[in-house]
């Protein structure tokens, strides 16, 4: 039985314990090394040569620890190949490090390093390019951009509302939200409000046209010339463009989610699904996460506070945004969050590994179980009511630090309970 080691410049084999001596090798062609970007590529170029030379040694039992090498050796039916146990080939590899210095073709260390580096750069470049083929990272970038845009939008809204309110303060209350206000200002700030034709206001398409017309006539705001209204219109138009960009991004996320993670999308929608992917880093990371992690993704501050101080753990992270949770009664949310997270874990795994669509089934299961939860606990249990009382009390007293000393015993008890398994008393 011989151990065999793969390096960029060639293959080396020899006796394992106790001798640990290299007794044969095959070098790769320099041209082939510089033209390959992956180990498997380099090996398949030399496949025939390698197997022939190894057969010549007369040895049939081979041990290797590198996957590409094992796969290659298995192709030869007369060989008996197995994976090395942990550290089984370490001494042989050490012998290889020393052996290389004796080989004339490899004696120039600077040349050797140059060869390794060339291949390494080709390999890394190749791997980086491959990664971009997976669209889940684009989803993460898009949802982060939407958060960036919202921050910018809030800032612009604050500025515009302050500025335009010098002229027409009543409009702020009459808008449904930030975005609608910005859109209205962009349209209305072309003319001073006293000259606003009623048709223009009707064109806004908002439901409070009457109120706006009234307010425009009797406003407490000062007069402003079109010249002074112009910069406000500039700013508001810019805001409208940003809103359009955000809407296009949301559409893009929607399309990507349908392509990349349709099951997750079916359960919690495109935006929340994208947020989950972004928080865990990639769809693969989300698929690897246990349901308990998915349940609290986004609530890291509360989670680590719980770990450090023994306070109650968070019941939900960003999945709170799902209507299943935020529209439910407070005492049911914990159970629903746990349930939803476990189905999300399944959804993410199917999305990454098989691409089947089982979203409808998962959604039906979730809804059925939520019905059950709602039926079985329409009112909080006694324990839940006591928890609520404690939380209210703690919040009433201000920061939890005030109760720190009182909670010390409780924290210590919880910590000891946790460490019981691992600590030696």
């Amino acid at each position: 039985m011989k151990g065999i080691v793969l390096s960029l410049v060639g293959i080396f084999w020899g006796q394992k314990e106790p001798k640990n001596m290299i007794d044969g090798y095959l070098l790769f062609n320099k041209k082939e090394i510089s033209e390959s970007s992956e180990l498997s590529e380099l090996l398949s170029l030399n496949q025939k040569k390698i197997i022939e030379k190894l057969i010549q040694t007369g040895e049939k039992d081979w041990v290797a620890d590198q996957e590409e090498l094992v796969e290659l050796l298995k192709l030869e039916p007369t060989f008996n190949v197995r994976y090395a146990r942990t550290n089984e080939l370490v001494p042989l590899r050490n012998a290889f490090f020393n052996y290389v210095k004796q080989i004339p073709e490899l004696s120039d260390e600077r040349q050797l390093f140059r060869t390794i580096k060339e291949f390494a750069i080709a390999n890394v470049t190749h791997q980086l390019k491959k990664r971009v083929d997976q669209r889940d990272i684009f989803i993460a970038q898009s949802i982060k951009s939407i958060d960036d845009i919202n921050t910018i939008l809030n800032t612009i809204y604050a500025r515009i509302s302050e500025w335009y309110s010098l002229h027409f303060p009543e409009l702020v209350e009459l808008a449904r939200d930030n975005e609608q206000y910005i859109k209205m200002v962009a349209k209305l700030s072309t003319t001073p409000r006293s000259e606003l034709p009623e048709e223009d206001i009707k064109l806004l398409g908002v439901k409070r046209e009457e109120l706006i017309i009234e307010a425009a006539k009797n406003s407490l705001g000062g007069d402003m010339d079109p010249q002074d209204l112009a910069p406000i219109k500039e700013l508001a138009s810019f805001g409208v463009e940003i809103i359009k960009t955000k809407e296009r991004l949301e559409k893009y996320i929607d399309e990507c989610m349908t392509d990349v993670a349709p099951n997750v999308q079916c359960l919690v929608g495109s935006l929340l699904g994208a947020r989950l992917i972004s928080l865990s880093g990639s769809l693969l990371n989300l698929a690897k996460s246990p349901a308990s992690t998915i349940q609290v993704l986004g609530a890291e501050k509360a989670l680590f506070r719980h770990i450090k101080t023994g306070e109650d753990p968070p019941k939900h992270g960003v999945i709170f945004q799902s209507a299943y949770i935020h529209s439910s009664k407070k005492h049911q949310r914990g159970k629903i969050a746990r349930l939803l997270a476990s189905k999300l874990a399944i959804a993410a795994r199917v999305d990454y590994f098989t691409g089947e669509f089982i979203g409808d089934n998962l959604k039906a299961e979730v809804e059925k179980k939520i019905e059950k939860i709602r039926k079985e606990s329409p009112t909080p249990s006694i324990r839940q009511m006591e928890q609520r009382k404690k939380q209210k009390k703690r919040k009433q007293k201000g920061k939890y630090k005030k109760n720190f000393d009182k909670d010390r015993k409780r924290r210590k008890r919880r910590k000891n309970k946790k460490n019981k398994g691992s600590k030696k008393e």
Binding site: V5, L6, S7, L8, L39, D65, Q66, E67, N87, V90, R93, N94, F97, N98, V100, E109, R110, L112, F113, I116, K117, F119, A120, I121, N123, V124, T125, Q127, L128, R131, F304, I307, K308, K415
Partner: protein
């Protein structure tokens, strides 16, 4: 302005405007890698080594006396990131080589750019938990340096030391206590990691010290493979 060689060849102690700094001689004069200050003294350009950006510098300035020589050695650097610390290793290493292993694609993109400017940096995109996957690139290491912030840091360090570090070679492990266990005291974590290195991997602990002046809850453990 004075220049003094420290116990590590290639690392100099400069006294600039009354302040003590450490620095390396720039092999790419005129180019700053991470916005560090460049100072020319007697026609040699030095790059100031920032201990708040590089943990090796932090370890040196925290008084660790057993840090390994870098010059003319083969360095296996796990967790090379964008290349802040390894750029200084690259200034010093001379005829040696630095194998930079990093797991993150985004960060490796930056490191590849750096490695194209400096001959002695080799970029390896791989998982330090599976040394077999990049073993083909490594031709033995004289020094192992690790800064990965993972819960199984000591296992990663031990396995790589076993596979690649030569006998008598030094290994430096930068430990972030929060990566291992956020609820344990840092001292406890450092001792636990050190005992794993000793008991599971048979590495000799030469020196262990906290670098809290520069990086809270971090320590450097210097080991040697017998």
């Amino acid at each position: 302005m004075t220049v003094k060689q420290t116990y590590i060849e290639g690392v100099y102690q400069l006294t600039v405007e009354g302040k003590q700094r450490i620095a390396t001689v720039n092999i790419n004069p005129g180019i700053s890698v991470y916005n560090e200050k460049l100072i020319t003294i007697e026609s040699k350009e030095y790059r100031i080594w920032d201990p708040f950006r590089s943990k090796f510098a932090a370890a040196f300035l925290s008084g660790l006396k057993q840090l390994p020589q870098i010059s003319n050695n083969k360095i296996l650097y796990l967790g090379v990131s964008t290349g802040t610390t390894s750029s200084h290793f690259s200034d010093i290493v001379g005829n040696g080589i630095i194998y930079g292993v990093e797991f993150s694609h985004r960060v490796m993109r930056e490191f590849v750019k750096l490695s194209k400017q400096r001959q002695n940096l080799i970029p390896i995109l791989g998982d330090a938990r599976k040394p077999e996957e990049y073993a083909a690139y490594i031709f033995g290491a004289d020094v192992l340096y690790q800064d990965v912030a993972q819960p199984d840091q000591s296992m990663i360090f031990g396995r790589n030391a076993e596979m690649f570090l030569r006998h008598g070679g030094k290994g430096v492990l930068m430990v972030k206590s929060q990566s291992v266990d956020v609820s344990m005291e840092p001292e406890e974590v450092f001792n636990k990691e050190a005992s794993v290195l000793e008991d599971t991997f048979g590495l000799k602990i030469l020196e262990m010290k906290s670098i809290h002046s520069f990086e809270k809850k971090h320590a450097a453990i210097i080991t040697q493979k017998v």
